[in-house]
């Protein structure tokens, strides 16, 4: 075996070029813009006209001096934990119960039922849930009053102490179906089915099978679900913008909303770019394990 000659290699590259080039051009533009954002965050651009004078970390220093930045980070952290952990656990329960106890028709019904919000935009769900949550005449409070549960009524997204949690609940509602779908698919490998079968023959309880056999063997599926949820929770913008616009006060503000407001309403473009870089850096950390996993699967 010898390495392919120069001419053969050239022919292969020529063969691949029409397939790879358009994709490369788009990727180049995308990463070029990413670099541009990073540079802008180090510039002194404030106001509507661009100003690319290098200002070093000036606006990053400004950023970490802002209370709002820390409130946002705190809120984003809430989103990351409460948007991801309950959704994954709940999805695991639903997927497993469907796997072991469902009649065929019920499975198809339930899958459609929890998955349809995946086709809806956050603007639509935000509009609907604003109406559900509306404190004075809204659906939930009206229902609770009708059921005689007056003391369970709440201000929902108008109460600064709990507003973020009610927003996160919308997110959980919307993403549960996707998580169930992916986890269910990862249950379905032949080897795993055989392992479950032999564990059942050994007399293991269903709960034990879930914990000892299924969960350790669907780490890949769980990793995918968790990464997907983490990224979506990190870049959450639409729900907050539509339902509360960060209010009351800054109570529900998140990095993505501040990024938008800083850039397009306060015209602190360097600051907005810095916030964008922070969001990107967090996203980058989240997708590293996922990328390694995907790379192994693709090139195994």
């Amino acid at each position: 075996m010898s390495t392919p000659s120069h001419a053969v290699r050239l022919a292969r590259v020529r063969e691949a070029a029409p397939f790879a080039l358009p994709l490369l051009v788009f990727l180049l533009v995308l990463y070029g813009m990413l670099a541009w954002t990073v540079y802008t965050s180090l510039s002194d651009w404030q106001g509507t006209a661009p100003n690319y004078t290098f200002a070093g970390l000036k606006w990053y220093r400004f950023m970490v001096g802002l209370d709002r930045f820390w409130v946002d980070l705190d809120n984003n952290l809430r989103w990351l934990v409460l948007g991801v952990v309950p959704t994954t656990v709940l999805a695991l329960c639903v997927a497993y119960l469907l796997e072991i106890g469902a009649v065929r028709g019920i499975e198809a019904y339930l899958r459609t039922l929890v998955l349809y919000p995946a086709a809806m935009s956050f603007v639509v769900t935000g509009t609907i849930w604003s109406w559900m949550y509306q404190a004075d005449r809204g659906v939930l409070n009206t229902l609770l009053r009708a059921a005689g549960l007056e003391r369970l009524t709440s201000g929902y997204t108008t109460d600064p102490a709990t507003a973020t949690y009610w927003l996160i609940l919308i997110f959980v509602w919307q993403y549960l179906g996707l998580a169930v779908l992916i986890l269910q698919a990862s249950f379905r490998s032949v080897e795993l089915q055989e392992m479950v079968e032999s564990a059942t023959l050994d007399g293991a309880s269903r709960l034990r099978i879930l914990i000892a056999v299924l969960i350790p063997n669907i780490r890949g599926g769980i990793l995918v679900v968790v990464s997907l949820l983490l990224i979506s929770a990190l870049k959450v913008f639409d729900i907050v913008y539509v339902v509360t616009f960060g209010g009351p006060g800054y109570a529900t503000d998140v990095l993505a909303l501040f990024q938008f407001i800083a850039t397009y309403q306060q015209h602190l473009v360097a600051l907005g770019s810095g916030l964008a870089v922070v969001i990107f850096a967090l996203a980058f950390i989240i997708i590293i394990p996922y990328t390694i996993y995907a790379l192994q699967r693709w090139f195994e």
Partner: protein, 274 residues
Amino acid sequence: MRLRLTPLRALVLVMVAALSVVYILPVYVMMVTSLKTPLEITQRQYLLPSGNLQFGNFATALRLVFPSLVNSSVISLTVTALSVFVGGLGGYFLARFRWPVTKVLFVLLAIALYLPYQAVLIPLVRLMATTRLALTHFGLILSYLILNVPLAAILMATFFFSVPRELEESAQVDGASRLQIFFRIVSVVALPGYASTAILVFIQVWNEFLLALTLVTPYTTTIQVKLNDIKGSYVALYNLQMAAALITVLVPLTFFLFLGKYFIRGILAGALKG
């Protein structure tokens, strides 16, 4: 075997009942509210459909959203067609040319796949504004294209993997070029994959809000931005808000209900392979 009510079955039934309430109530409320009079809303009559169904709400809402419905359709369809085309070519490269450099490309794509739009928002908007593309549909079309080509490429690559190589080898022996093989054989066999990718990209673009909001002009307002406007302008008219929301969601929901198989395959292809 007869169905008996085992504890497990009871648990499943409880779960199904609970999820049914949680997932049907919002949509039911949306539908019922969209057909009510403002008076009924102030009187808190939500759960029963009114005797006097106000289909006029939909006429009013449709009048408000119609131009943006057209904008969103033009933008989403164009982006879908173009990104599936470019993504198809790129996906074939990923699936069939397994060079060391393909790995690098794959990593770059995986990052791009989950790139928060904020990371490129400022340059993108600047670019579209200075070239004046933002004043036409091309601004949003080009922006969405750049952002969705990575997704389309990864998805198409996973579908091309399952096309048997033998199909291509026999054509190669007959002297067909790679491009001919790609368009006449591989793409035809992978048509269901194209359908999945197209549906996913279409729904993503149709539902996008941040970029549409930032690049908004009176000529290119998309349906999501318009719905948000309606929500902000007609604060107390929940009937109108819900009618507009229902119109907004009709297109992607129709895709989901009638082409759900392709939608699900697309999600799984993206999730488990890519």
